[in-house]
């Protein structure tokens, strides 16, 4: 794909994530979605840029804020929306919900609810790749709040020791629920945690999706070449509350508006318009709109999963009673 086509494709993906989530928020307030719903709006350039830096067969795993990565990797909007609606046609057959999007075909290994708990799994997939002599890499995404928990550090410690092809991507959106970065970490340059493990590091702001691709791409190249893991701190911002139940009173409207000025999606859109791609943008927008509306209709019309699903999804083979 040439850079211009890629730009349009990345625009489409970012726009899809944003519109998908705006509509999810609406469906949530209508009671069609239950439990927790954590929106990725504002952070789209991270998942989309990262996806552009890897191959389809590379491994990815993330937190409960997982819709963006899933859609970027190629999960259909239908499967994603149906999962939010708890339907049997959802990506996890209605068993996982918003926090647990899985799509093994697209190498999206979740959607995890325990802060930091999935980071050893990222290193584990990288371990398997190295063990089998493949050149696939694993990308493990986590929030800066997960920099305080043991599992994240044990994963980094072992990945560095064993030179695993793992990229630790810390999406620093400045808040862990209501706790600002300064109140949760003594060292706010998170990339420096890499120094303790003798690991490569990088740190940048995610307002340009091409830069996200290139900087993560450099780490991917090293990992494929057997040079071990990298810790990348990507500075980003979430526009919405932590989850739907969070009124986000811990920050000012000005602060949020300020962040929106640097919106990566609009930045890319303006670049494309300047490059004369207005028609392509309109086409992409129309396609996104149709896809999201279709996903909602599909999710609405799909059936609830039945109890028969519970036993075979708990154990493979005979149920161990």
């Amino acid at each position: 794909m040439n850079e211009r086509d890629l730009a349009i494709e990345m625009y489409r993906q970012m726009k899809l994530i944003r519109r998908f989530e705006e509509e999810s928020a609406r469906a949530y307030s209508m009671g069609k979605i239950g439990g927790f719903l954590h929106l990725y709006i504002g952070q789209e350039s991270v998942a989309v840029g990262a996806n552009a830096a890897i191959r389809p067969d590379d491994y990815t795993i993330t937190t409960y804020r997982d819709h963006g990565l899933a859609l970027a990797r190629g999960m259909t909007s239908r499967a994603a929306m149906a999962e939010l609606f708890g339907k049997e046609t959802g990506c996890s057959r209605g068993l996982g919900g918003s926090m647990h999007f899985f799509d093994a075909e697209h190498h999206m290994y979740g959607g995890h609810g325990i802060v930091g708990g999935h980071m050893p799994l990222a290193a584990g997939m990288a371990f398997a790749s190295k063990y089998r002599g493949e050149d696939r890499v694993a990308l493990g995404f986590y929030g800066e709040g997960a920099s305080s928990i043991g599992a994240t550090h044990e994963a980094m410690s072992l990945a560095a020791l064993w030179k695993l092809p793992c990229i630790f991507i810390c999406e620093n959106n400045e808040y862990a629920m209501g706790t600002s970065l300064e109140r949760s970490l003594s060292l706010t340059d998170i990339s420096r945690k890499a120094d303790a493990y003798g690991m490569a590091k990088d740190r940048f702001v995610a307002d340009d999706v091409f830069m996200v691709r290139d900087r993560i791409g450099a780490a991917v190249k090293r990992a494929r070449a057997g040079e071990g893991p990298t810790l990348i701190e990507v500075r980003t911002y979430r526009y919405r509350g932590h989850s739907m139940s969070d009124p986000a009173k811990y920050r000012t409207k000005d602060e949020v508006d300020d962040a929106k000025q640097r919106d990566a999606l609009y930045r890319l859109q303006h670049q494309l318009e300047e490059d004369g791609a207005t028609a392509e943008i309109e086409k992409a927008d129309a396609a996104v709109e149709e896809e999201v509306q279709d996903a909602i209709k599909f999710a609405d019309e799909s059936a609830d999963p039945g109890p028969d699903l519970l036993a075979p999804t708990t154990y493979k083979g005979e149920f161990a009673r």
């Binding site: 708890g86 996890s92 996982g96 926090m99 609810g113 928990i149 862990a176 999963p305």
Partner: protein, 327 residues
């Protein structure tokens, strides 16, 4: 008496004990500036200041362990888990430190600490956020485990927990936080551990429960009454120690028992109670004891399937009829 919500009853107990004893403090994620993820600690930061109402980063093993270490040398920390699910990350601290320090030091050390937060299912929060953790913790000698169902007990048991010189696991429920009830104002009102409560008197079948499911059991009892079966509902309140006497007295009257609670059927609190009844009151029983538990699967997200898995009143009714041979 003052009518208040469950979350206020928990907060009142914390505030009164903090007034009473300067070594009591509370720490956990979002307990201070955010006023608590479920607003249990609302206002405490203003009242007691940041020295005693402490926001922690997401580091359960770290802050649970810091609480235990501080307790070991004389402080009386209350450690809030945003939900009990996250205590799994700190399990080693509770199992190997809080529960063991006294015994392995030959009785030299005390660990007066309270771990608290909402437990078991909420609504559609999925498999990693719906655990009934009491079944893991009641297994451990060295800790006490309590689980109130009413606002008064929420206050009284928490005050007892804070004053106890042993580690206490105090289990709340997200779906109980808005429950209203009368709570004694007396600052020395406490509810002793190891004493259950008869939530409803009856003579035909005993339904044993605790925490949120007590309310489901009471609902089931109303249905049963319409069909001529008078159920006695026991609210255990305290799981370790367990009120054997109350259970045995009720069985001596009804000769039948159903145990209803959240958590999986393999082992757990219910199996423990079944064991005690069959050992101590075998001759009193007219039917095998039945348990109504969460079904034996990780909790599904789908609303319909979640309701299918969680103990519901109709399943309790069915079990009560079965032990009464009235199907």
């Amino acid at each position: 008496m003052t009518e208040m919500r469950f979350r206020e009853a928990v907060r009142t107990a914390i505030a009164e004990e903090m007034e009473r004893d300067a070594s009591v403090l509370i720490m956990g994620e979002e307990v201070a500036q955010y006023q608590g993820a479920y607003k249990v600690t609302e206002g405490l930061l203003d009242r007691f200041g940041e020295k005693r109402v402490i926001d922690t980063p997401i580091a359960e093993a770290g802050f649970a362990g810091i609480g235990i270490g501080a307790a070991m040398v004389g402080l009386r920390p209350i450690v809030e888990f945003m939900t009990w699910n996250f205590s799994a990350v700190a399990f080693d601290q509770i199992l190997n430190n809080a529960a063991k320090l006294r015994q392995m030091s030959g009785g030299q050390l005390e660990v007066p600490i309270v771990f608290r937060g909402p437990n078991a299912s909420a609504r559609q929060v999925g498999s990693q956020h719906s655990h009934a953790m009491e079944h893991f913790y009641t297994h451990i000698p060295g800790v006490k485990v309590v689980a109130p169902a009413t606002c008064a007990d929420a206050k009284g048991l928490l005050k007892t927990a804070i004053r106890d010189d042993n580690p206490v696991i105090y289990l709340e429920s997200e779906t109980l936080y808005s429950l209203k009830g009368d709570v004694p104002d007396d600052e020395d009102f406490t509810v002793p551990f190891g004493l259950g409560r008869v939530a409803r008197e009856g003579s035909d079948v005993t339904i044993i429960s605790y925490s949120r499911i007590v309310h489901v059991a009471l609902e089931a009892a109303e249905t049963l009454a319409k069909e001529g079966i008078e159920a006695e509902v026991i609210d255990l309140r305290s799981l370790r120690p367990l009120d054997e006497d109350l259970i045995l007295q009720s069985i001596a009257k009804t000769h039948r028992a159903v145990i209803a609670y959240e958590g999986w059927p393999y082992g757990g609190v219910g199996a423990e109670i079944v064991d005690r009844i069959q050992r101590m009151a075998f001759d009193e029983l007219d039917a095998p004891i039945l348990r109504v538990t969460t079904l034996d699967y990780p909790m599904p997200y789908s609303a319909a399937l979640e309701q299918h898995c969680i103990p519901q009143a109709p399943r309790i009714v069915e079990a009560a009829k079965k032990v009464s041979y009235r199907e």
